[in-house]
Structures are given as structure tokens and as C-alpha cells.
Amino acid sequence: MVAHSPRRPRSRARRRAIAALRMLAALVLAGGIYALVSPNAQANAPGQLSAAAQEGRALYETSCISCHANNGQGVEGRGPSLIGVGSAAVEFQVETGRMPAAAQGAQLERKPPQFNSDEARQLGQYIQELGGGPEIAFQGEQAPKGDIAHGGELFRVNCSSCHAFSAAGGALSSGKFAPSLEPSTDRQLYAAMLTGPQNMPVFGDNQMSPQDKYDVIAYVQNLKSDTDPGGWGLGRFGPVTEGVAIFLFGMVLLAFAALWIAGKS
């Protein structure tokens, strides 16, 4: 739960309480719900929503409905239809704070999320039950174990062209960009590959099996957590920061040394 405004402590406390209640409900129901919802979930009629989906629907109707319309039908020019996008896409967009969008720009950016991850999953559940679509294949926060080396090969062929070798992101055309993967969780990485948010290509399960995705996730998380063996990595930006370093550190230091050496005192 993220506070919007520190000036309204009462409202924050109330929200926290509600969130705690929701979390409790979610925890109690979680096992049963996930067992009930099979991966090829068909669109249920609104009346047959699961409990989590009903929670999600309540959230949807306060925060999403103005752009995506009733029952995720979408509004021309404001928000696309959410029928068939699946829970993975919803979770990704909501958990990374991209949705609800602040404004329509060249590209939605990661920002502090407005909903916690349970709420994001409830929203996802609602959209999933509305129209089906791709889902994250594992429960919990951690992806199943993957083969780092194989993940690395997949990463270099498919991901590094935009996100860079270091997963620090890179520029795309006309102000768009591939974001840094630094803050990304396992679930977010999986959902992004599966759904291809915005300009990212979609890596469906036929192209990249869930195990392949776990491999990529393992590689990326290892890349992020592995300390650089050669000292400070200079942000892992490559030759640009190395060039800056040789001038700002090496040349400047030695120029001062030269000044001192040739100085009269």
C-alpha cells in the first residue's frame, strides 16, 4: 500500500486497514482460487466471478473504468480493450506502476505502484476471468530454477539488443526507450516476456517455453546480483563512462600532479 499524500494520515490509516483486510482475505482464499482457475480459463459471466476477481472488479470500477470502460471493453482513444490481455499483462502494468497511467505520453514509465501486489493480482484475476489470455506460469515471487548459461544465450540473442548487455536499458527511436531491468522482479520479467508491453516484442510460450523464460530470468537476476570482479563497474555503460573516467580521474589527477611537479615551490 502506497500513500498518496502524507498530509492525510487518517485516510492513509484507513486504507492500510482495508488493505490488511484484503490481504487477509486473499491469503485465506488464495489456495482455493488458484486451484479453481485453470490456465485455459474461459470468460466467465460476470455473475460467476471468483472471490478474488470480485475484489479485483471493485478495484477496477474505482480506478480503471474511466479509460477502459465497463467490463474492460475499452474506450476509443483513451484506453484499449482488456478482453484477452490476460492476468500477466495486468499484473505487469499495475505492479510496475505504469497503470493507472498518469497521462498519455510517448511511453509509460515505471513509477511507484498505486496498488500492492495482492491488489494487482486481484485485478489480473478479474481481467483474466473476463476474457482469458496469458498468465504467469508460476505461483509465488520466485521463478523456478533456471539454467543461467542457457538464459545468457537467449538473453544475448533476444534481449540485449534493446536492454543492453548489462540489462541497464537503452534508447529506442524518437524518445522511446527500453527500461533498465534493475528493479524488475521475477514475475515482472516473466510477464513482460510473455505479453510484450508497449513496444517490446512478445515472446509467447511457443517461442520461448516457460523453462526458457526461467533461464532468462535466472540470467538477468544473476547479472544484477553478481558483484563486478574488476572493481566499480562504472554503471556498466561501456566505453562512454570509461572515456569519461580516463579524463575526469586519470587525466585530471595527472595534470594536477604535473602542476605540482613543475611548480616553483
Binding site: I148, A149, G152, E153, R156, V157, S160, S161, C162, H163, A164, F165, S166, A168, G169, G170, A171, L172, S173, S174, G175, F177, A178, Y219, N222, L223, D226, D228, P229, G230, G231, W232, G233, L234, R236, F237, G238, P239, V240, E242, G243, A245, I246, F247, F249, G250, M251, L253, L254, A255, A257, A258, L259, I261, A262, G263, S265
Partner: protein, 524 residues
């Protein structure tokens, strides 16, 4: 039997005598020891490059003991887990072994790479010093040309070395190099297939680059550096104008012992800085890039900084391809072949062009202050601006991404900046030079501003000036400008006492007050 006593004290003299008997070195040795060298901090910039080169030879020799420039395909089984079982060339595998399996190999690799960057950086800064002070003028034109060649040789040497590990980044650079070679009109495809022994990348290019990198280019570099430094010794170093300094003498210190001691100390500092950088700042982490594969690339792919200006020119070049009679001159030809050609030929002839324009046939052992030659300084500023716009454009995708600017806008900013900023830099630098000249002459004529404001009887305020020399009744002096710095502040004239020395506590006692002052103190 009387044993002849061996006199240790006589040993150095006896040895020296024996050597001189055979080689007659006393006279040249003494004149060498007594050689006078002028002292100015900018004269040490070229030495940074020289020292970096020595460190490159040392670390490079170490690397060569472990590196194998082979493109034979292997499967990695070393200690870096994320690349286990990956197919790669033997060259990349040995580079990884150097980084992870050879004790201290990584710091050697990193020091070698940092030293290469420092070598080029020092060359560029040194070149700027030589240009802006007019040190390239007669009789030193040849050394200027050799220096320029050293820049381009260092450029090639660096690129060849950068390509050797066969990681994805260097392979990308090599691919671009092959495109540059291909773009040469008429013979491009022939040169390319001959260089790579077939189609890119072939199987032999690394071995060819290796022999270039560890033998041919260092040999030429070493020879030219020897000639470069030798010419400085033979022609004696130029010096800035100043008291006692003329076009026909050198004012400074004898080479031995003090100057050489300083040189040795500076070498250790350069070595130390490179060791610090090699250990503390990671450079070229090839294990993150993976082996070179033709289908693999990373966003933010750049060459090392000294190649970046050509990458920048390539990025800024509009899509102008010339096609006629079934033949093509690709767009990449202009920024990567023609531009470097111009950047070699024009500076090479610049000393002669300038001498012709200034109708100057004299010998110049005294340097010029940049402000005294506004046109040259302006040209230099324009050149540096041109170079900087290109270099920054070589990293424009990183700038676009990290400062959230549109990539396309960065390209356009570079294109426009390349045309607009150099003339602007010329104009601004020239105006600044003229302004500084004006100020120098004002100070010489009127004296230094004291900061004391005086109210005249008629109500005007004037600032009191301290003349530098006797003045006439109007307060005007006749001091000529001799090309040396003019004192602009009162404490430069000794109007303020020097600061007491010592870091934590004074190492000199402040001078006791003069008796007259003491009387004053006591009477008050």
C-alpha cells in the same frame, strides 16, 4: 707474501676509467648530464603518453603470455558460470581465462586497457598544448608531423587490441570496420576479402590483428617515439617567454639530478594512477558481452573513446549515397574514410600553411601564449569543438537514454551542432583572446587594479592603479609586452606577505616585527 689490498673505494673510478678508455664517453656523458631542460607543467603532458606507452609494453607482454588469437571454436569450461558450455572462439576463451583463471590476470588486462585510454588521452591533450602555443613552428615541423602519425598509429593499435578478445562488442566494432573497408570506391570489396581472407569474419583476422597489435605497430610506434623524443633532445625543448629567456637559450634545470628525479617520480605516479584505475574501475567486462556472434548486439554499442569521434561522424552522416552508372559510393565512406584523411592531411600541412600566411620564416624557440595569436587559438577552439561534437555524438544513445532525450533529437542536435558550434567557438575564442590582450596592455600601461577606490575633489570615484614601472605625469607607463604573463593581482607584485608555510603547523617562524613597528605597538 704480501696480499694486494683490494680497494673498494677505487672501484667506481677504476670502472669508469676502464669504460672511458674503451668508449670515450666522458664528454658526451657530461654534456648529457648537464643538459638544461625548461620547466612548465604542460611540458609533462607528452610524458604521460610516453609513460603510458611503457606501461602498455609491460602489461601487454604479460597478457601475451596467456592470450591466443585463435578463432578455433571451443566450448567454455572455465570458472565463470554464466558462460559455461557456451560455444566461443579460443581467443575469447583465453581472454576469459586471463580474467578469471590467471592470478592477477584481470588487473593486468584492466591496467593495459586503461593505459591505452590514457595513452590516447595524453596524446590528444599534448597535441592541443603544442598547437595552442605554436610549438609546431620552425624548426619543429617534423616533430609535429611525427606526433600526428603517433596519434593515428595509437588509434590503429588501440582498435586492433580492442578487437582481439573477440567478445560481442569488439566483434561489432570489427564488423563496422569491415563495412568501412568495403565502402572504399573501386577496391573496397577486394581489400575486404583480402583482409579477412574471404567473407567477414573469416578465420584468420584475429591472427593478423594480433601480429599487427603485438609486433608491427608497436615496432613502428617505438621507433617513432624514439625519434620524437630524440628530436626534442637534439633540438632542445621550446620554452615560454620570461625573464632571461631568449630565442637562443634554454632556461631551466640541468637534467641531472633534479629534473630526472622528477621524471622518475612522475613515472611512478602515472603507473600508480593506472594501477588504481586497473584495480578499482572495471573496464571492458568482456564476460558480460558474451562471445561475438553475427546476430548478437547490444544497445549502447560504442568503441573506445578515441574512436568515438568517427563513430559519431558515422551516426551524424545523412543518408547520402551516390549511385551512378551502376556503381555506388556508400554514405559511410565520407565520415570514416574521407574525414580521417582530411584530419590527417590538413594538420600535417598546418605548420607550413601558417608560416606562409604569416610570412614567417624565422626560428621559434619561444612559445606563444594562445591569446597572442587569436586566429590560431580560434581555429584550435573550432577544431576541438568539432571533435567534441563528434565524440559526444558517438555516445549519443547513452546520453539520450540517461538524460531522457529523444534519440532522433540527439542526432539532429549533433548534425546542426557540427555545423554551427565550430564557427561559434572560433568567434568566441578569438574575442576572448583579443580581450585578454587588451587587458594585458592596459595593465602594462596603467598598472594593477588595487581595489582601492578614491573619491576625487570633483566628486568622481576612481580606482587607484599600482603601476608596474615608472610612469609619466599622466600615469602612463612604457612597458613593452614580451609575451610573458603580466601580473594582474597585487599579491603577484609582492604587495602582500607570502603565506606562512607548513600544513599542520608553521615550519617557519613568522618574521619578528621590525623595531620601528614594535615601537608603534608599544606606544599605542
Amino acid at each position: 707474501m704480501k696480499k694486494r689490498k683490494f680497494d673498494v673505494k677505487q672501484l667506481p673510478a677504476a670502472t669508469a676509467g676502464a669504460i672511458d678508455d674503451r668508449y670515450k664517453v666522458a664528454t658526451p656523458l657530461r654534456s648529457f648530464l648537464n643538459k638544461v631542460f625548461p620547466d612548465h607543467w604542460t611540458f609533462l603532458l607528452g610524458e604521460i603518453a610516453l609513460f603510458a606507452f611503457i606501461i602498455l609494453l609491460l602489461t601487454g607482454t604479460f597478457l601475451a603470455l596467456f592470450f591466443e588469437p585463435s578463432m578455433q571454436e571451443v566450448t567454455y569450461q572455465g570458472s565463470y558460470l554464466p558462460l559455461r558450455d557456451v560455444h566461443m572462439s579460443r581467443a575469447y576463451e583465453t581472454s576469459l581465462e586471463l580474467s578469471f583463471d590467471v592470478r592477477g590476470g584481470l588487473i593486468m588486462r584492466q591496467m593495459h586497457h586503461w593505459a591505452a585510454l590514457l595513452f590516447m588521452a595524453a596524446i590528444v591533450v599534448h597535441m592541443a598544448r603544442v598547437f595552442f602555443t605554436g610549438a609546431f613552428r620552425k624548426p619543429r615541423e617534423l616533430n609535429w608531423i611525427i606526433g600526428l602519425l603517433l596519434f593515428w598509429l595509437g588509434f590503429l593499435e588501440g582498435f586492433a587490441g580492442y578487437s582481439l578478445p573477440d567478445d560481442a562488442l569488439s566483434g561489432t566494432g570489427l564488423r563496422i570496420a569491415s563495412a568501412i573497408v568495403l565502402s572504399i570506391p573501386l577496391v573496397g570489396s577486394w581489400v575486404s576479402t583480402s583482409l579477412f581472407s574471404g567473407e567477414f569474419p573469416g578465420e584468420i583476422i584475429l591472427e593478423r590483428f594480433y601480429i599487427l597489435h603485438v609486433f608491427l605497430l608497436p615496432l613502428v610506434l617505438l621507433t617513432l617515439i624514439t625519434v620524437h623524443v630524440g628530436l626534442v633532445i637534439v633540438q632542445k625543448h621550446s620554452q615560454f617567454p620570461g625573464p632571461g629567456r631568449t630565442n637562443h637559450n634554454v632556461v631551466g634545470e640541468r637534467w641531472f639530478p633534479r629534473y630526472v628525479l622528477k621524471q622518475g617520480g612522475f613515472f611512478m605516479l602515472v603507473f600508480g594512477v593506472l594501477a588504481l584505475m586497473g584495480g578499482l574501475f572495471q573496464i571492458n567486462p568482456i564476460w558480460l558481452f558474451g562471445p561475438y556472434e553475427a546476430a548478437v548486439v547490444s544497445s549502447g554499442s560504442q568503441p573506445d573513446w578515441y574512436v568515438m569521434f568517427l563513430d559519431g561522424s558515422t551516426r551524424l552522416m545523412p543518408a547520402w549515397e551516390i549511385r551512378a552508372f551502376g556503381y555506388t559510393i556508400p554514405a559511410i565512406f565520407w565520415p570514416t574514410v574521407v574525414l580521417p584523411g582530411l584530419l590527417t592531411v590538413f594538420p600535417m600541412f598546418y605548420p607550413f600553411i601558417e608560416a606562409r600566411l604569416r610570412k614567417d620564416k624565422g626560428f621559434h624557440n619561444l612559445l606563444e601564449r594562445p591569446r597572442d595569436v587569436p586566429e590560431r587559438t580560434g581555429l584550435g577552439a573550432a577544431g576541438i569543438t568539432f571533435y567534441l561534437v563528434l565524440t559526444f555524438s558517438g555516445g549519443n544513445d547513452i546520453i539520450a537514454d540517461k538524460f531522457q532525450i529523444s534519440l532522433n533529437a540527439m542526432t539532429w542536435a549533433g548534425r546542426i551542432g557540427l555545423l554551427v558550434l565550430p564557427p561559434l567557438a572560433y568567434y568566441v575564442a578569438r574575442r576572448i583572446c583579443l580581450g585578454l590582450q587588451q587587458h594585458d596592455r592596459e595593465v602594462l600601461a596603467h598598472g594593477v587594479e588595487t581595489g582601492i577606490i578614491r573619491l576625487l575633489p570633483d566628486g568622481r570615484f576612481i580606482e587607484v592603479h599600482q603601476p608596474l614601472a615608472p610612469v609619466d605625469e599622466h600615469g602612463h607607463g612604457e612597458l613593452p609586452y614580451v609575451g610573458a604573463p603580466v601580473p594582474k593581482k597585487m599579491n603577484r607584485l609582492g604587495a602582500l606577505p607570502p603565506a606562512v608555510r607548513g600544513f599542520f603547523k608553521p615550519i617557519e617562524e613568522p618574521a619578528p616585527p621590525k623595531p620601528k613597528d614594535r615601537e608603534k605597538i608599544e606606544t599605542h
